[in-house]
Structure formats: C-alpha cells, structure tokens
C-alpha cells in the first residue's frame, strides 16, 4: 500500500522565507562532527537571538550554542545524543506559523562541508549500531535475535547463501562463551579518545628529554601559610600549592622565552603571551585548563580561575576558550602521593613540568642531616625547541623562585 505524503500536500512556500537554519557549528579547527548533548528549547518554543538554544559536545568540551535569530524553533531533525557532521542543518528558526523549508534548501549560516562522514563516535549512536556490513547480509530473524541477545553481528561470519548471517549463526554466537563481543570493551568518550590520540602523537613524534630537580618546599609551604588568609579574605578561597607554582611559573617563564615557545614544524614560535595550563583529571582522562596571561595575575586571581575551570572540567562543561592557547603545562600528582614522574608534552608546547608530592626527607642542612619537606620537579622538554642547558637554567631559576616565593610574587 503506498503512502502519499499527505501531510505536506496542502503546503505552499510562503512568499518570503525567513527561516534561519541552525547548523552543527564548527568550533575547532579540524572538527568533523559534534554530538548534540541537549536541546535547551523545545520544538515550537519561541527563542530570541542570543538565547541558549542547545548544547554541543566536541572532542574537547561541552558548550552552549546561542540562537542565531528570533523566532520559533521548528523542524528539529536531530535528537539528543546524535553525532552530526559539522555544517549539517539540525533545526530551523521560523516565524510563528511558518513551515520549515524542505530538506534540499541550502542553509543560510554555518560552515558547509563536503560529504563529511559522521564519525561513529559513541556506541550509543544508532547509526553506529546499524549493521551495514561489507557485502554481508543478515536475515530479519537473525537481526532481531542478535539485538535481543546482545550479539555483535559485526563479529559474525554468515553461513547462509552469499555469506548471509542466519539464525543459527546468531544463536551459536550467543551460546559461545568466547563471544568476541563479551570482553568488556570500554567505549572512549571524547576526552579519552583525544587523550589517546594526542599522547600517541606526542610520544611518537616529539623528541622528549627530562631534567629533574629536587627542591626544598619549606619556603613554598610558608608562603602558602602567609598569603592564604589575605587571599581567602579577598577571593573566598585559599591558594593551593599548584596555584603558587602556576604563579611562579608566570614570573619565571618570561625570562625563558624558549620554554614558552611552540614548535611549528620548521620554526620555533616565541609566544608573546604566557598561558600556563593545569593538567587535571576528569572522569575519563585528563584535560589541561588554561590560566591565560598567567604572568599578569596575582595568586588569588589564579586560584579563583583555577577553581572555576576545575569545576567546569569535572562537570564536562569546559568551553573551547578554557583549553585553548596554552604555552606551558604543569601537572601535579602530589596529592596522589607520587614522588616523581615524567609527563608527556602537549604539542606544540615546548615543555611540561611534572610535580611530585611534598614529603619529609633527610637531607643535608648546613652540613648536618636535617629533615626538610622535599619535592621533585621533572621537566619534560621538546629537544627541537630547547636543549639541556636551557632547560637546566630554567629549572634553576624556578628553584630560586621557590626558595623565595614571596619575593617573586610581590
């Protein structure tokens, strides 16, 4: 029985179409797709330009997208959770009573990309589960049974005519204890996937070397004690060791432009800004949130910014600006009782500082064994940008700053 599209049978295009397309935005270079996390407005609801319309998750962050114009949200084509190629129209903003244009209408805003395939980013995407097998076929019954019994049909070899997957193949797989899909595979979220890609790229292409220095952290502890109350009064929170270290890096890095530089492939770019990023653990990996213009900020302001980005990172709501433009990264595993570790550089940055825990150690103090709160700093450097001597000089200056933090932070 044929079904005519009776719904649109009486529709005629209005004389002037005001409909504005809402497209999946490209928020980062090389972004191919975005995941629609949530619609903030419902179909048929009025929106005004600039109001938050939806939330998008990219490789790096979740962000809010504003309505591109005034009107009524209509023709929502993409449901929450879907991964959509950049540039694809996902909804329309129309005048009240107006019907969204037909599918073929070109979008009026947003970047158009030619046939960008949607990456099957998440297992929850229905498209990713569709068993569009290469040349293989599956019977309706086998498909239904596979779904009911949780058999991954992509892992099956069909025994039917032309290799079609039949009921018996699915039942055999369902009963087999070594079902290929049974080992628990963790599906990578955007953060974890990005971490895997970036660390592999860095470790396999950046010539790392490491410089290690033990530091007496007594002065740092004292500075934290002394500065804490005033900062708490002004900003409502006490600075952490990391905040102080970030602030000191902001003071020392301008004296060592190569440590704050970027490898561009054939040249070294000396970055005019000092933007120290703080690596932080989130649910499925690590992100590095940036404190822009670190060299110009007081410890208190750094602490406030650090707290804000930490909260956003934990909530998975980092904005692109929160993670863009870092020139140097610090990674502190002190709270995890790690004595020392080597970190992987985040290209194109030249270096990353790995900070271990502060622990009491017996060390020589003016010729006698003494107990001091010691801390190990490990600097990972890109040998294309800095050499051992430059790294040592930088670490030396940083050690000086840690001996007299309050003088440097004044």
């Amino acid at each position: 029985m044929s079904e005519f599209p009776t719904e649109n049978a009486g529709w005629r295009p209005p004389p002037t179409i005001m409909a504005i397309s809402v497209v999946m935005p490209a928020l980062e270079m090389a972004q191919e797709s975005g995941k629609l996390v949530a619609w903030r407005k419902k179909e048929g609801e009025s929106v005004t330009k600039g109001e938050t319309l939806l939330e998008i998750e990219t490789d790096k962050a979740v962000m809010e997208i504003e309505a591109p114009g005034d009107g009524v949200l209509a023709g929502v084509k993409v449901q929450e959770g879907a991964v959509v190629p950049v540039g694809q129209t996902i909804a329309w903003i129309v005048r009240p009573g107006e019907v969204p244009p037909p599918e073929t209408s070109p979008s009026e805003s947003g970047r158009r990309m030619d046939a960008v395939p949607a990456r099957p980013a998440t297992a929850s995407s229905k498209i990713a589960q569709t068993p569009d097998m290469q040349g293989g076929r599956i019977s309706p019954k086998a498909r239904r049974l596979a779904r009911e019994r949780g058999v991954d049909i992509r892992s099956l070899r069909g025994s039917g005519p032309d290799g079609a997957i039949l009921t018996e193949d699915v039942l055999a797989a369902a009963e087999s204890p070594q079902q290929p899909s049974s080992p628990k595979a963790e599906t990578l979220g955007p953060v974890a996937r990005l971490m895997a890609e970036r660390t592999t790229q860095s470790w396999t292409t950046v010539p790392h070397f490491f410089v290690v220095r033990e530091i007496d952290a007594g002065a740092l502890n004292q500075a934290r004690e002394r500065l804490g109350p005033a900062i708490e009064k002004a900003h409502g929170l006490r600075p952490t060791h990391t905040d102080l270290l970030v602030a000191l890096l902001g003071r020392v890095l301008p004296k060592h432009p190569r440590m704050n530089a970027s490898w561009t492939g054939d040249t070294i770019r000396l970055n005019p800004q000092v933007n120290v990023a703080i690596a932080m653990a989130v649910e499925d990996g690590v992100v590095a949130a940036v404190i822009p213009d670190t060299d110009k900020l007081e410890v208190g302001a750094i602490a406030v910014q650090r707290r804000d980005v930490t909260e956003r990172a934990r909530a998975g709501r980092l904005r692109p600006a929160d993670i863009a433009g870092a020139t140097f990264t610090i990674s502190n595993l002190g709270m995890y009782r790690v004595d020392a570790f080597s970190a992987i550089i985040t290209p194109p940055q030249a270096a990353i500082l790995a900070v271990g825990s502060i622990a009491d150690r017996v060390v020589p103090v003016t010729g006698q064994p003494g107990i001091r709160p010691m801390m190990t700093l490990t600097l990972s450097c890109d040998h294309r940008v800095v050499d051992g001597a430059r790294a040592a000089l930088f670490l030396n200056d940083l050690a000086d700053a840690l001996r007299e933090p309050e003088k440097w932070l004044r």
Partner: protein
C-alpha cells in the same frame, strides 16, 4: 479426522457423495451444467446422480456458461441452492459478469434483502495434455473479488467436508477441483461432516521449512517433504483450504516456527495466490524469517500442449524439493 475412519473414496467419489447427501438432505439443492446428467461430466464425477435425483434436479444445460451461471444466480436469489458446474476452470471467463457483478454484489446492493446461496464447481490443474484453453488454474481471479468465497480442496476428505459447507453457505462459493486429483484415494467418513472455511490444515508437521500448498500442489508438497526428510530437512506442509477466507494466523505461526517458507500454487505466479500468501507471511512473520519467502506457481506462459513442455510449466515434487533444499542450504 475421526480415528475410526477406514473407508476410502476417490476425490471424485467424495465430491459425488457430498452432493448426493446434500441433495437428499435439502430438496432445494440442484445441479446445472454441461453434461452433468447422463454423462456425469467428462470426469465422471456426477455419475449416478441423475438416476437418483432425476432430470428436474440434475439439469443438462446448453453450452452457454454465461447463460446457465446467470440461471444459477437467479435460482439462488429466488430460493434454490444450485450447484453450477463449469467443466473446465478456463471457462469461468464466460461467467465473470454473473459471478463478479451479480452473485458477488447482490447481497450487498440489496441491503441484505437478496442472497445468492450458490456454489460454482469447476476445475483447475495442468498436465492432462489439454492445451492452453483447458489447463489453467484461475482461482486467483475469484479470490480477488469481495463477496466470493473460494475453496481449494486437496484430499477426498476435505472435498466432501468443504463441499457440504459450500452448499450450506448463504453466499456464493466457488469450489475448485483439481482434475488430475479425481482418482486420488483417501479416507472419507460415511457420516455427515463439514469443514469450516478459513481454517488451514497442517497436512504434515515439520520444523525446518514451511511449504504452503493449495489444491493440486498439496500432494506435490507432501512428496517434496518426503524427499526432504531423506536429506535431513523437516518440512511442514500447510494447506489453507480456502483462499478466501484465508487463515492468516496458521500461516504466520508456521512461518514463525520454521523461519523459511515456500508457497506453492498451480495458478500463475505473477499477481497470483502465491503473491498474496507470501505477502501475508512477510508482513506477519518478518522478524522471524531467515530467508525470503519463495513462491512457486505456473510458469508465465500459455500452458503448452506438448507433454514435455507442459510438465516443466508447473511445480513438481522435485522442483519444490530442490527449492526447499536451496533455501535451507548452508554455505
């Protein structure tokens, strides 16, 4: 079927017995047709009836199918229960206006005031070397028309029970007999019994594939099932017995059980009974099918007179067996 049944009749005898019993039971039942009286039809199905019931109730007509079918429709509307005999199913073409526009419509268009309790008995089936105008199986034509019931008995037992139901029905019924099956023997109870329309019969139970077969093809399917047994494939044979009303439930349930279906019917495959049944199964059992529903019917050609050629135009035990084996094949 009652277990005590031992008596065997041929298909033709079963039809004759049903007619005789109904004519004894109800004096309104009468027979119109060509060569139905003394000749007892060319297939000798009606032999003896005119002797018992006389030429008042077993009436030889001129060679005019349109005329005596119209006679039957009028007689039915005015109180008789005629059984109209159309010697070859190919001749139903001549009766179409009476059947399609009159018999099928009268009850509806008179607001229920008139009814047509008439049975048209006719034949189908090839391989009798009767050539293109005497060999067709045109039951799909009537199955297509609302207001007509279409019966396709496949055994002597079904023939007797279904013909009695047809004669007692208040609406026009077309009763197709396979002319090659008249000599087929089978158990038939001597007592009075009827078989309801719209109830399919599982002629043979099986697990691996369902063979839905009608009329002449039921015996073919049963033969194929025996061959399939030898290669380890268990075939279920289902006979819908009436194309309308159609027992969709039994067809779908069997398809769900076996996951594979072949529909075999001697009518032309294109736009035929097999198409309708395959569609019912595809809709009702789609998510339980492991293979496409296969249809087997008469080749889309005028049926040849040449015996060699005629034999290849219709499904046989061996072609059904091969098709079933292919459908169940593992690579």
């Amino acid at each position: 079927m009652p277990e005590a049944v031992q008596r065997e009749l041929t298909f033709a005898q079963a039809v004759r017995e049903a007619l005789a019993e109904e004519m004894r039971r109800d004096s309104r039942v009468c027979i119109f047709g060509e060569d139905v009286a003394e000749a007892g039809t060319p297939f000798k199905v009606l032999s003896g009836l005119v002797e018992e019931f006389g030429t008042e109730r077993v009436i030889d007509t001129p060679i005019s199918e349109a005329g005596f079918t119209g006679l039957g429709v009028g007689a039915a509307m005015t109180g008789l229960r005629p059984v109209v005999d159309i010697m070859f199913g190919d001749f139903i073409t001549l009766t179409m206006d009476q059947m399609v526009n009159q018999a099928a419509k009268v009850h509806y268009m008179s607001g229920g005031k008139w009814k047509v309790p008439m049975v048209m008995r006719t034949t189908l089936g090839a391989t009798r070397r009767s050539a293109a105008q005497h060999s067709q199986s045109l039951h799909a034509w009537f199955s297509h028309v609302p207001g007509l019931k279409v019966v396709l008995p496949s055994t002597p037992y079904d023939a007797k029970g279904l013909l009695k139901t047809a004669i007692r029905d208040e609406n026009p019924v077309v009763f197709f007999e396979d002319k090659m099956m008249y000599k087929l023997k089978g158990p038939v109870p001597a007592e009075d019994y009827t078989i309801p329309f719209g109830v399919a019969d599982v002629k043979r139970a099986g697990d691996d594939i369902t063979l839905v077969a009608t009329s002449s093809m039921v015996q073919v399917a049963l033969g194929a099932a025996t061959l399939l047994d030898e290669v380890g494939i268990s075939a279920e044979v289902i006979d819908p017995r009436t194309t309308w009303p159609l027992d969709e439930k039994t067809l779908i349930e069997s398809a769900k059980k076996t996951s594979r279906v072949i529909v075999v019917d001697e009518g032309y495959g294109r736009y035929g009974v097999t198409a309708e049944i395959a569609s019912v199964i595809a809709e009702g059992a789609f998510y339980d099918l492991d293979a496409p529903v296969k249809r087997m019917g008469a080749m889309h050609v005028p049926i040849p007179f040449s015996p060699v050629l005629e034999d290849v135009t219709v499904p046989t035990e061996h072609t059904v067996f091969e098709a079933a084996r292919a459908l169940c094949r593992r690579s």
